[in-house]
Symmetry: C2
Subunit: 253 residues, 2 copies
């Protein structure tokens, strides 16, 4: 986690692959499609303007590392399009993905002054960048933003607890079903179709998110397909045949 269900939207004057530009005159926020989901949702015009002042937009290809574990934490990010994964590694390379970040999600919070995890793009991604110092200054100035951010952190904590329950106590099948439901629910919150669920990440990424191997993920998908709970469609889409079934399967009921 430490990606927060914040939000900030798309813009036109963006550039590609790490090149950023001040989002100056045009006030990009006005066009933002994910604003309602995030910090920005709560802001007055003035606050939004000040936020826009310090913000830059960036674009990355798929598979790009936004920052690595241990890097100095100088920037906060908000996803405006695409999917980002954040993960931690063990010395021998075992990996745990702690979250997938979708448009409107916020990430880059740090504890001391370095990131405690790596952030990498799963698909091509657009981001808003907030310099940390300036963001902190804004938070001090606008308690409402602070509070909003805190409330989003609380949501994150709740999600983290759910994920711990999943990792510690659910079976492979329950994990996969929970995962599909999560994607469906997050799509719904974003106003997208909930049913054919878009699953942009690889089997390996799903495995590292659920504490499984790619083989087990693949086998479990096959099994769910065979028992007619889901079907796999073109373009990384998963059709949920019976939502109630899936809900039960996700909790072992």
């Amino acid at each position: 986690m430490t990606h927060i269900d914040f939000a900030y939207p798309r813009d036109s004057n963006t550039q590609t692959n790490g090149k950023t530009d001040p989002a100056g005159e045009i006030h990009p926020c006005s066009a933002c499609t994910v604003r309602t989901l995030t910090v920005c949702a709560a802001l007055e015009a003035e606050e939004l303007r000040r936020l826009a002042e310090i913000l830059q937009t960036t674009r990355f290809d798929a598979g790009h590392t936004v920052f690595g574990e241990g890097d100095p934490a100088e920037t906060l990010y908000n996803v405006t399009s695409g999917t980002v994964k954040v993960y931690k590694l063990l010395p021998d390379g075992r990996r745990q993905i702690t979250g997938f970040l979708l448009p409107g999600d916020f990430f880059g919070l740090s504890v001391n002054d370095s990131y405690a995890y790596t952030a990498e793009t799963v698909t091509p991604v657009s981001l808003c960048r907030f310099p940390r110092r300036r963001m902190e200054a804004l938070l001090d100035e606008f308690p409402k933003m602070q509070r909003r951010l805190f409330s989003m952190a609380s949501n994150e904590l709740a999600a983290a607890q759910d994920q711990m329950l999943l990792l510690g106590r659910k079976t492979a099948k329950e994990k996969i079903c929970s995962f599909l439901l999560l994607l469906s629910q997050r799509a719904s919150r974003r106003g997208h179709k909930t049913n054919p669920v878009h699953v942009p990440m690889s089997r390996a990424d799903i495995a590292d998110y659920l504490g499984l191997t790619t083989e087990t993920v693949s086998r479990t998908f096959t099994q769910l397909k065979t028992s007619r709970v889901i079907s796999l469609l073109e373009g990384n889409k998963v059709q949920i045949q019976d939502m109630d079934d899936l809900l039960d399967l996700a909790e072992g009921a």
Copy 2:
């Protein structure tokens, strides 16, 4: 999680088993031993006084449920002595403990208006209770408190990510070693001895925290004892024989 490394200390005019009393005249905070660890650390005298005004102290025996998953979230808590566990259940009774709360830790944050987990005492416990509404009002009034709380929530998120890595990717032995180190480090932060580590919780609780069974926890302890990494002492204490060994074992190195 959603227990936050906040703090608030012991007091004299406390009562037992759920009975509370206004912590009025005497200003209990002045005697607080865990104040430095928590929200209170950052506060001015005035802020502290206001906080003390809305606070009540409570005491519970071991094994008492402070609140249950789904209960209306009307109170925030701060542990001043003893240990509390917070957990979530699956319909069939499988349990995941998402955190053990020690003196100075804060808990009771909620997402909508109900608790997303159950909180239960492990040992006899003293708590400070803050009515949620009044606490929120104070947070609005004192941005510094808000910010402190947010920073503690960020710490929680980082801890949650560590726990996900543990649950998803570590072996039983690595889990147990990590757990002992965690207890040792938390003791250290509280100014307690780091080496014979006090482990107040049962094997079953440890198992439910680490995503194992009690049998596996027990076997792993025996194994670590046999290989002279730790030894088990009287009174739920664990002596760490070689801290560096343990650090390596915790990460699979």
